[in-house]
Amino acid sequence: MTLDLDMMMMAIFLPLFGAIAAFILPRAAALVGLVTLALTTGAVIALGLEVRQSGAVVLPLGGWGAPLGIDLRADGLSVAMLALTSAVGFLVSIAALDALKGADQARERQYFWPLWLLLLTGINGVYLSTDIFNLYVMIEVIALAAVGLTVLSATRAAVQAGLEYMYASILGALLFLMGVGFIYLQIGRLDFTGLMGAEPTAALIAAVALMFVGLALKTALFPLHLWLPAAHANATAPASALLSGLVVKAALYIVLRLAQYMPFPSETLLTLVGLMGAGAVIWGGIQALRAERLKLLVAWSTVAQIGLIFVAFARAGEVGLTESWKAAALLILAHGIAKAAMFLAAGRIKDEIGHDVIRDLDRAPVRPTLAQFTFALAAISLIGLPPSLGFIGKWSLMEGALVAGYWHWVAVTMLGTLLSVAYFSRVLSAFLRFDRIRTPVAEHQGWALADAAPLTLALTAIGLGLMAAPILRFIEIGYPFGAAL
């Protein structure tokens, strides 16, 4: 047994043991959480080094090997997603120390850590899984922990949103499970390798459709997005950052992964996916323009950005799918980091000002300047201005679409960019106006630790754009069709 195999287990089992420890030792939950995050990040780094050196690694659990047993597998894309999760997770955890420090938040604090560590177990499990039924169990681990985090604040709006989220989650998982059933009926296997090269029979098309709709519901792709804005806007800030930055990415990743092993059965279906994405870009943009509250605006922007990722996925049609997933993966990474930063910053602004009504942001007697600066930096990456990672993602999206002659996807991307400029300007202009209040404005510099985490995230989102080439090279390691092409 070599070291790299251990690291895959560690990436899943460390958060699991952490969750158990945080649950039975509620008083030490925060400490347990931070230590676990640090150890898990270490495991992911070790795994990344191993993958870079020797390519994709596989661990046949129980020694059985697929198809009878379940294999864990890590390649460039898995490690990139794990790294996103650890990095964002670690910084959000630091931010959570501050966001949940109130004397009246003892119980929130106590439950945040075990739920978040279970969530991390589930997310890491998804990125290392190669078995579709195992993915079903993992997305349920994620769903229950995520709903728990959504309703952490226990306000009526949050519980209402959490219940809608739960309904959508259960339905999405059951559609996925039905798809798993059809795959078993047709090919009698559940591992990814078994899916490769399968004939597109009626049962398999039904399976793909069921699984895609289920995952679209989980990742809130238009028009199945209805649960997302309320859930993400009403959760407490660290929970929102985790939900928007990390949780929706797990279902997105499964879509990318399945498309690698099991190419979409037809061009029409892929166009439909692109159209749903386009719908999300436009509808999410319009709703963000109309949103009255800051966190709601950020939540609607998530809907639009998820749509953009699906547009990237469909950008060059069926033949371009072997390249398109890379553009989608870049956008996933960019959005994960920037959106977590933005939700944390929005939470800070709300905490300092006392509300998050966009219209009145410029009337506040306090100016949380660091948080506002962070928000602006995150917006740069989400809009896709150079040199941010978001820019590279959008660029490779449009480049691919142009090469393939799919002008309509370029137009959708442009429109989405314009809309995001418009809705973020609503917020940023409020930050920059000083003439609305006569009383002296207190320059609030913010508490260092509380602003450090989102600021680091936002700077990372911009800085990683300069490292796009190595990132792209890395995510191609161990691509399942790499050898064949």
Partner: protein, 96 residues
């Protein structure tokens, strides 16, 4: 007509009925129940897939998957019901 055909179609029907309920039931409790029907429908597909013409023994893997699915579903149901109870109480407090 073999049992797998009969019960396979039964599973489809139950899944469809659950889907109607999940999409348009107004009552919160009824929606949870509708989702549970969907899960039974999905379980039917796997159990039917495992069936072999007697005297052949069934494939045990789908059976294990369904048992896992049942436990997962009861967990999700419990959380949904807890949310319903909490929401009802919060609404009552707001109205009072």
């Amino acid at each position: 007509m073999t049992p797998d055909l009969i019960y396979g179609l039964t599973g489809m029907a139950v899944f469809g009925i659950g889907l109607v309920g999940a999409l348009c039931a107004q009552d919160r409790l009824r929606r949870v129940l509708a989702l549970k029907l969907c899960s039974v429908g999905a379980a039917f597909v796997l159990v039917v897939g495992a069936w072999r013409e007697p005297p052949g023994a069934p494939d045990p893997v789908p059976h294990a998957l369904v048992i896992t699915g049942i436990v997962v579903m009861v967990s999700a149901t419990a959380v949904a019901l807890a949310l319903i109870r909490r929401l009802q109480t919060l609404e009552a407090e707001d109205d009072a």
